[in-house]
């Protein structure tokens, strides 16, 4: 991906989160996404690639997207490539996942259960309150391969605000959402690998310091003090990922699907 104006990019877990300053070359239209947020979704093309760009979002959304995306890469959550857009109207650009459809409960039992479990663990750690069928993309690779499941849109996560995350402590948001068709046992039976990765990351303080620092450097929206708060809180939440997942499932199952 092109870095304009010698801008920065951060190579993290073999994925690169770029920051672009210029406006997208070609706005091609508004994607008909039934989004529930205030963001404006647009489809743009850059270097022949298509992105869905959220504009008009506030600082906490951008911080949540950036930190959440970097954490997703670390934890192995299937997530499309992404870019920060930093011109007059800051935004978040997510690579258009080709031939993907929104989540449908009838397809739940055909989906890769590890992908689904990973999303729930990620949501528990970042305190995502906006997981519904429009924010999960499903791809059919053909043959007998279970459907691949991509996580998108972490903008409404509690990870977007340092003090909010401190306030949340080791709890999960009471307004978390659940995907229809997903069973608790499916998630619990397939979460072992990501919980192990979370445990390892919890012991790697320097990596988490670097991750939060880079999120701050890229977004220019996180102070040094906030970076420290994020680091401490995320280390704590990663260390307690299994408990958070259990609490997240308790909350979401009791509330039902949106």
């Amino acid at each position: 991906m092109t870095d304009l104006g010698g801008n920065i990019g951060f190579d993290f877990a073999h994925q690169r989160l770029d920051v672009i300053e210029a406006k997208f070359l070609q706005k091609t239209g508004v994607v008909p996404v039934n989004n529930r947020s205030r963001a404006l979704f647009m489809l743009d093309i850059r270097d022949g690639e298509q992105y869905v760009v959220k504009r008009g979002i506030d600082a906490t959304d951008i911080v949540a997207e950036a930190l959440g995306w970097l954490l997703s890469q670390e934890l192995g959550v299937r997530t499309p490539r992404a870019m920060l857009v930093s011109d007059d109207s800051p935004g978040w650009a997510s690579h258009l996942v080709q031939a993907a459809l929104n989540w449908d409960q009838a397809d739940a039992a055909l989906c890769n259960p590890v992908d689904v479990a990973n999303i729930f663990v990620l949501d528990a750690i970042v305190g995502n309150t906006d997981r519904h069928h429009d924010n999960v993309l499903v791809c059919d690779e053909g043959g007998t391969t279970p459907l691949l499941v991509h996580s998108i849109d972490l903008g409404n996560s509690r990870i977007g605000h340092a003090l909010g995350l401190v306030e949340l402590g080791l709890d999960v948001p009471a307004d978390s959402q659940f995907l229809r068709g997903v069973e608790r046992t499916t998630i619990e039976n397939h979460a072992a690998a990501i919980l192990a990765r979370a445990g390892l990351l919890a012991k790697d303080r320097s990596r988490m310091v670097a991750l939060c620092y880079e999120a701050g450097r890229l977004t220019r929206l996180i102070t040094a003090d906030e970076q420290k708060l994020f680091t401490e809180q995320l280390l704590l939440r990663l260390e307690n990922a299994e408990k958070l997942l259990s609490d997240h499932l308790d909350v979401t199952l009791s509330r039902g699907a949106p």
């Binding site: 091609t28 239209g29 994607v31 008909p32 996404v33 039934n34 489809l43 093309i45 298509q50 869905v52 258009l96 080709q98 031939a99 993907a100 459809l101 929104n102 449908d104 409960q105 009838a106 397809d107 739940a108 039992a109 055909l110 989906c111 890769n112 259960p113 069928h133 429009d134 993309l137 791809c139 059919d140 690779e141 053909g142 043959g143 007998t144 391969t145 279970p146 459907l147 068709g181 069973e183």
Partner: protein
């Protein structure tokens, strides 16, 4: 004059270009809400390749489950529902025929295209973690089908699990436009097996039709009615008890062969 309404459903293989293909119509009439599909789908080469074709077929499956005319689901950026158009009910059939007969002469049916039943079934077995116990393509006269060697005219069965004394022959069914045709095919196939296994000695053989997630109760009931005379168990995997019993039996039968 009774009024009806329809909404065309479009597939946009590339949202950037704005090109869209009508793939179905959601119809509201005095008979209720239903979905009518186009006579033929655009070729994979027209819509950008096999991945989009798979998405299109999955959209068709999802459309079979749409039951509300006013509250339509959101399938993502590749699918749009037009605004409703009113039409006199007596003109509805002719109009839909005109709108939905597309792309190729009607005699060139593509009803058999789309995801293969056996692939969809194996996709589910894989997601459920039992694919190692399930084999593809049961054939009479070979392997565990040796006891049927004198009846070679039997067709292949999509999946099977073989134990030492037990055999499970399994056919998947799922929601898609050609469901009726699928069901007839499964019934014909399994009816032949039901007759054959009653004539020869061999392992205890149970026939199954397993309804993949999302098949409507109406279709499930239809499957039970049609397959009843073939002594086939119809498993609705959306019902946890039925699903767990089915998966448990697969494990038991397969593991018994390992133990023995």
């Amino acid at each position: 004059m009774t009024s009806a309404a329809y909404r065309l459903v479009h597939f946009s293989p590339d949202p950037a270009t704005g090109i869209k293909y009508p793939i179905a119509a959601l119809v509201s009439s005095s008979a209720g809400t239903r979905v009518e599909f186009v006579s033929h789908l655009p070729d994979a080469r027209c819509i950008g390749g096999a991945d989009r074709m798979r998405a299109l077929h999955r959209v068709q499956q999802r459309l079979t489950r749409v039951s509300s005319f006013s509250q339509v689901p959101s399938f993502g950026p590749y699918v749009t529902f037009d605004t409703p158009h009113d039409v006199p009910e007596e003109n509805l059939a002719a109009l839909l025929r005109k709108l939905l007969t597309l792309y190729a002469p009607p005699h060139l049916s593509d009803a058999d295209t789309g995801p293969r039943r056996k692939s969809e079934g194996m996709k589910w077995f894989t997601a459920m973690g039992v694919s190692r116990f399930v084999q593809r393509g049961f054939r009479p006269g070979t392997g565990p089908g040796m006891f049927l060697k004198n009846i070679p005219a039997l067709e292949k069965v999509s999946h099977y699990t073989a134990g030492v004394h037990s055999l499970m022959l399994m056919e998947p069914i799922f929601a898609r436009p050609q469901f009726e045709k699928d069901l007839k095919d499964v019934a014909r196939r399994l009816a032949a097996y039901a007759l054959a296994i009653s004539q020869v000695s061999g392992p205890h053989t149970q026939l199954y039709a397993y309804a993949l997630p999302g098949l409507s109760p109406k279709h499930i009931n239809e499957a039970r009615r049609i397959l009843d005379f073939t002594h086939t168990k119809v498993v609705n995997v959306d019902i946890p008890r039925e699903r767990d019993d089915f998966l448990g039996t697969i494990r038991e039968v397969a593991q018994a062969s390992l133990v023995d």
